[in-house]
């Protein structure tokens, strides 16, 4: 199994209290990792460090064959890794403007960008919402727009913070579907969650934060509690 990116020696403390102390975190390429832990265990903190949004006290990063400090790596990881909030934030604009937001950086012509946005909307089955104000959408719709807005930038790694926390079953299913598609397109994904069953069918690995440290939960040792073995549901219940 190849690793997309490796973080070593992540430590962070807030107001003198140590939050995380992680020796090593390997992110599997093209696969989905489930990150669990109790509320307040540092899941969000870890995801923000991974994505380059939050500065850790220490962290070394191995990425694209290079060893770097977090600071050196920040421009690369901010470019290739996208973090999605538990309740995604959409800008005060239309759905298509939101999806186009990151394209600005790529410096593409307006026509090309418009094409891309159109395809992206079709991909997520959101075409009918293109001109709606993003602020008026439901939680599930917002989540899908946020996923589409991330996907259009072709990220290497997508970090989802409790993506299905406050969603109804319908919205959960649609989000799950998009995640499946993303994964099949080769995007690596980390999903944090404190309830596991809604995303377990797409997760290949399972990491658990406890007392600021990461433990790998092997499917065999923990099969009845969390089945993270293989994509399909049938296989997971063995």
């Amino acid at each position: 199994m190849s690793h997309l990116i490796t973080y070593k020696n992540i430590t962070i403390s807030l107001s003198g209290k140590s939050i995380l102390n992680i020796d090593q975190l390997d992110v599997a390429a093209h696969q989905c990792t489930l990150l669990t832990g109790r509320n307040g265990s540092g899941k969000t903190t870890l995801l923000k460090i991974i994505s380059g949004l939050l500065k850790p006290n220490t962290a070394n990063i191995h990425y694209q064959g290079l060893d770097m400090s977090w600071k050196q790596a920040k421009p690369y990881i901010q470019k290739d890794i996208i973090y999605l909030h538990q309740q995604p934030y959409l800008f005060d604009a239309s759905v298509s403007d939101n999806i186009a937001y990151g394209l600005h950086r790529l410096g593409e012509s307006k026509a090309v960008a418009r094409q891309k946005v159109m395809h992206a909307l079709q991909w997520a089955d959101l075409s009918h919402l293109a001109h709606r104000s993003a602020k008026e959408l439901s939680g599930g719709e917002k989540q899908r727009v946020a996923l589409t807005r991330a996907r259009i930038l072709s990220p290497q790694l997508l970090l989802l913070d409790e993506p299905t926390a406050s969603m109804d079953t319908d919205a959960k299913q649609q989000t799950g579907l998009l995640l499946q598609r993303l994964k099949s397109e080769g995007v690596s994904i980390i999903i944090s969650s404190h309830e596991t069953h809604t995303v377990k069918h797409i997760a290949d690995h399972h990491l658990h934060i406890k007392d600021g440290q990461l433990e790998t939960i092997e499917p065999s040792t923990d099969s009845d509690k969390v089945s993270v073995l293989k994509p399909s549901k049938k296989q997971s219940v063995t």
Partner: protein
Amino acid sequence: MNDLGQASANAFELLLSGNNDIWEIISLSFGVSFSAILIATPVALIIAFFLAFFQFPLRRTLISLFNTFMSVPAVIIGLTLYLLLSRSGPLGDLRLLFTSKAMVIGQIMLSFPLLVAMAHATFQAADRRAWETAITLGATPWRAFPTLMYEVRFGLIAAIVAGFGRVIAEIGCSMMVGGNILHSTRNIPTAIALETSKGEFAQGIALGMVLLVLSLSLNAGVSVFQGKGELRT
């Protein structure tokens, strides 16, 4: 002295007749105050943003300092600036005293703390996710900042309008560092003071009406924008 009604009628006539002197004074007032706000706003917004979004030493001290400076009376700023800009003062070589530039500087000093304090409150209340989302979608801070400003635009506009409202009606500083020179530094408030002292109430009232209408609409504007800001967040 003629009665108030007569004076007000004369005032209307003055305004409508396109009396050059009056409209020159009005446009000077606006020119000076717009310039002051235009210069003060970008710097104030950036400072306010840093105060709200980043931790650094003396941050709290700075915030309370700006809040305190907000209540410094215009005449004190006028006096300070007068002493600085006078040819016998330390900045006398700039030859700015009794010019409209000096008035602009005074109004910048007046509006700056208000702009920072109000913009800081707005940024403080802004959704952190807006900033993080822009950054994680690959925006540079230089692009994420305007995006964030757009998200909280109603609060920021309220701050700017309030700042403008403070300087357009201010007299103490303009009188001192401007000198109320006809065609050069006479603005609405100093002209009102002068016309009243001359007993020319019609002109005083005419200018007063302009200022009153302006202040009322600015205040109404501030509450509308602040209301919108609250609804959105």
